[in-house]
Amino acid sequence: MKENGKFFVGLGGVALVVTYLIWTGVSESMLYYLTPVELMARVEQDPTFHQVGVKVSGRVERGSWSRAEDELLHHFTVIDLLDESVRFPVEYRDILPDTFNDTENVDVVIEGRFREDGVFEATVVLAKCGSRYEATAEELLG
Amino acid sequence: MGLIVGVILVSAGVILFVMMPVLRGDWAVMGRSDDEVTEVDARKQTALRGLRDAEYDFRSGKLDQADYELLKSDLARQALEAMEEESAAGHLIDEGAPPEAAAKPAESTTSEAEGDRLEAEIARVRKGMAEGRTCSACGHLNVKKSLFCTGCGGRLGEVPTEARDAVSG
């Protein structure tokens, strides 16, 4: 019907624009979302992977957190959730979230790139909100 | 002990409350009550509201005179049709106190004065159509005994079939 024609033209137009925006948006800001194990495998296969922006989810190794004196620079180690032998150091130059610590099992998601020297240069660090970690009966009863 | 009593009271109370209608044969109101909005009335309210909005749009300069007249006659016709349907169905509602629309919509129903004014307006249009004074081309309501429309210059006298049917109901 005639009115449907106009409607679908408008719909098509907006759909096209939105698709274009999504397409370019994705290509400009996409990050591979990997586990440390996958990251290591990628880097081994493809040395240029050091240049690629990635997002990694893992866990902070207990006791691995240190902070430079007088400088906003954090160091800590991230280990894989399943295979603890796979780990790498992380360097981060911004404020860490309050949920971050290295005394409990804190899960983190970091964004950045994995440098040639084996250090992960992080631009974003997110730590899982502690309140969402629910204690088991054993933990509660001590 | 207190707990058991409490539970029994609550359960029994709830079950009784829930099953009472079925057990006693009490029926909920199922049909529509007389003063409730019907679909026809909803259409009438929409048309009247549209007329009011159109008038304000015209006065605040968003509508041309020509567009306004057209819109007005179109909406008036819709309101007329709805009113005719209503009277045919025997649900003629007192025009002075507009019925409460279902669930009291966010915008108010027209006040008595405004309702009266609009009803008078529609009555005029209706009469005009009946007497062939409303121009079928541009909707302009002309003075009695006109031969030509002062709005668009077209010839008056040919009452379009729609308007005639709506008026005769």
């Binding site: 996409m30 | 409350f17 109101v29 679909e39 909005d53 966010a106």
Partner: protein
């Protein structure tokens, strides 16, 4: 009491199921007794949920740590405030909270319709109780019973995460939940319309206020979340495109689209199928929002602990709801098609349609970006994520287009607008917009997108102000009233329109605030007591902060607290001092909490974060040498306009929703339909 509450939950399920069945059967077979029974079930379920909630709250308030849920979210030292709020602190309790609110709204809907819209109510009852029963089934059978007990009661609970121990915790989740659950009512009426065959606009007229109410709570809930993040999180921002944030935005976008498209159906009788689809989509998105939060499907700082069982159950529920709605719409499709057509591209219908398409486009792209890791992992084996740059990039043009529409909408007439009138009405606002852009450009603002935003903002504001002026003058002339009275009557006679315009003003203010982010300044510095930090703002103001030192008071439930004090001067004149803190709460010693200091002005905020103290332990003990600290100082440009805009949106929403002085009922009401009619009387 607690046990009573637990049993009430068990009683509620069969009551809910019976009520749903009674509603559907009663509607189909025209059995008024079943319908009445169903309506009683709605009231009963609400009553039982009140008992359940009271039971949970009692457990918290009496420190009954035998209950796993209480032990996880409370401890003895916790202020009473937060013990009561424990009801919605975690996954399990928040499910109860959801059903409580849903059953409350259901009871309200049934009560206000006890003598009207009766043809709809049987199926409304059926749908509402079906949905409530679903949640009850989840609570009772999916390992999320809040009344689960431990083998014995531990001495004390874990306590509430310090990040949740602020008043926002009592405001933000409840407001959002109110918004989510309230939307179930319009959905139920829509399904009832489909089931009963009353396919005209009545279901929309009946639920208009519910739609507005839901939208209102959603908007406020989202803004509260932004304020919470800004005030409490210590990152200096208010939105992070976190999956759960996005999930709450989706139903709001759909509800906004729906608010506009129903007007097309009301005024022109068109888009009936579209509206049916949109109400379903919005409802599904409310369920999706809670699903995303509960299932842990997407990594988020917000998600409850991961729970696959819940994930599957909710997915199945959404699938069933979507399927049933689709079937119903398809079944009624022939009767839903409208007689009218869009007459002109240049019309308000057209503008509203664009509004819908754009809003849904935004929703789609946000959904896409949020689920992208899942989609790519499913398709290629490797997960790919997109972050804030993606969302900002995609939504910026959409936001600009929406602003333009907010300016065009009020001016363009229904059906067919005349081009000449449009040009005439746009002339001044466009000039004002261009003047604003030029003035800002000359003052040094060269950021393209921001200029565009500010220009559009001026354009829309001008149009809305002119609308108010023209409307007031027109009314004053017609009715012969003074201008102030005319304005009052003008708004009061058409609350939805004028309330809506005020909402648009608020939204424009918020978008303007977003543009301000492009001009934020920040600085990171490590200082000893006596040192100063200087930061300038784009408006030419200069702030000098002098670090005074750290002190160590200790508030309730805190182990330690370090408060850094900065005296501040603005352009050489002293203003209110700023404090920034790091706090350690009882039981949460490994996670210090950052509390920021904010000095707010109309055009900018001065924002102070205590990033680090070299010797935190020493600082907590008030040791002299432990005073060196690192601070992040920010000037956040125009951020206050989000909150001011939020107030305006709230005001507009209240005006739009305000009940009008309709004419009073003249016919007497009967409460029930009486007894079962004699068989002969029924046809």
């Amino acid at each position: 009491m607690i046990l009573l509450g637990e049993l009430a939950l068990w009683i509620a399920l069969p009551v809910g199921i019976w009520g749903a069945v009674a509603g559907f059967v009663g509607g189909r077979k025209e059995r008024g007794d079943l319908v009445l029974s169903g309506e009683h079930c709605v009231y009963a379920v609400f009553f039982l949920l009140v008992l359940t909630s009271a039971g949970i709250i009692t457990a918290f308030v009496t420190d009954n740590f035998e209950y796993w849920y209480v032990a996880n979210y409370s401890n003895r030292e916790l202020p009473l405030f937060y013990k009561v709020a424990g009801l919605w602190a975690g996954q399990r309790g928040s499910l109860v909270f959801w059903v409580l609110l849903l059953s409350f709204f259901s009871a309200a809907a049934v009560f206000t319709n006890r003598t009207k819209n009766r043809e709809f109510m049987p199926y409304v009852v059926g749908v509402l109780l079906t949905i409530s029963s679903f949640f009850l089934v989840v609570l009772l059978f999916a390992d999320v019973n809040p009344f689960e007990r431990l083998p014995f009661a531990p001495a004390d609970g874990r306590g509430l995460n310090p990040q949740l121990q602020n008043y926002w915790m009592t405001i933000h989740p409840p407001t959002l939940y109110l918004g989510f659950t309230a939307f179930t009512i319009p959905f139920a009426f829509a399904m009832s319309a489909l089931l009963s065959g009353k396919l005209d606009t009545r279901w929309i007229l009946i639920t208009r206020r519910w739609i507005l109410l839901s939208w209102f709570f959603l908007a406020n809930g989202i803004i509260f979340g932004m304020r919470w993040a800004y005030e409490m999180l210590g990152w200096g921002g208010f939105w992070f495109w976190d999956p759960v944030e996005n999930a709450s935005l989706l139903p709001w976008l759909a509800a906004t689209a729906f608010l506009h498209s129903i007007q097309i159906q009301e005024n022109r009788g068109m888009l009936k199928v579209w509206n049916m689809g949109l109400v379903t989509l919005t409802f599904l998105l409310t369920i999706f929002a809670t699903f995303l939060t509960r299932s842990g499907l997407i990594e988020s700082v917000h998600t409850f602990a991961e729970n696959t069982k819940i994930a599957f159950i909710f997915l199945a529920f959404m699938g069933v709801m979507a399927g049933c709605s689709a079937l119903l719409i398809a079944w009624r499709y022939p009767q839903l098609k409208s007689e009218n057509q869009i007459q002109s591209f240049l019309s308000r219908e057209s503008a509203f349609l664009f509004n819908n398409l754009i809003l849904l486009g935004a929703a789609f792209s946000i959904l896409w970006g949020t689920l992208f890791p899942l989609i790519t992992e499913g398709l290629t084996g490797t997960a790919i994520a997109v972050g804030p740059p993606f969302f900002n990039r995609v939504n910026l043009p959409i936001g600009l287009a929406l602003m333009a529409l907010m300016g065009i909408g009020p001016v363009i007439a229904w059906r067919r607008a005349s081009r000449r009138n449009l040009v005439k009405n746009f002339r001044m606002p466009v000039i004002v917009g261009l003047m604003v852009v030029a003035a800002l450009f000359l003052r040094g603002v060269h950021h393209g997108m921001a200029l565009l935003t500010f220009g559009l903002s001026a354009f829309v504001m001008t149009i809305i102000i002119v609308e108010f002026v023209k409307g007031t003058k027109a009314r004053a002339r017609i009715e012969g009233e003074g201008h102030l009275l005319a304005l009052y009557h003008l708004v009061s006679r058409n609350r939805r329109r004028w309330g809506g315009y005020i909402v648009h003003v608020g939204v424009v203010m918020i978008f303007t605030a977003f543009a301000g982010v492009a001009f934020n300044r920040e600085l990171i510095q490590t200082v000893d007591p006596g040192d100063t930090i200087t930061i300038g703002s784009p408006f030419g103001h200069e702030y000098t902060l002098t670090y005074q030192g750290l002190s160590s008071p200790r508030g309730k439930n805190m182990v330690r607290q370090a408060v850094a004090l900065m005296t501040v001067e603005r352009n050489g004149r002293p203003i209110e001092s700023l404090t920034a803190e790091k706090v350690l709460y009882v039981k949460w010693e490994s996670s210090p909490l950052t509390i920021v200091g904010i000095n707010s002005y109309i055009l900018e905020d001065l924002y102070l974060i205590l990033e680090n103290v070299n010797d935190l332990g020493g600082a907590f003990e008030n040791e002299a040498g432990a005073q060196r600290a690192t601070f992040k100082v920010q000037v956040n440009v125009l951020v206050g306009w989000i909150w001011y805009g939020g107030f305006v949106v709230t005001l507009g929403g209240i005006i739009a929703m305000w009940p009008s002085r309709g004419s009073t009922r003249t016919a007497p009401r009967t409460k029930t339909g009486g007894k079962r009619p004699a068989l002969a009387a029924r046809s």
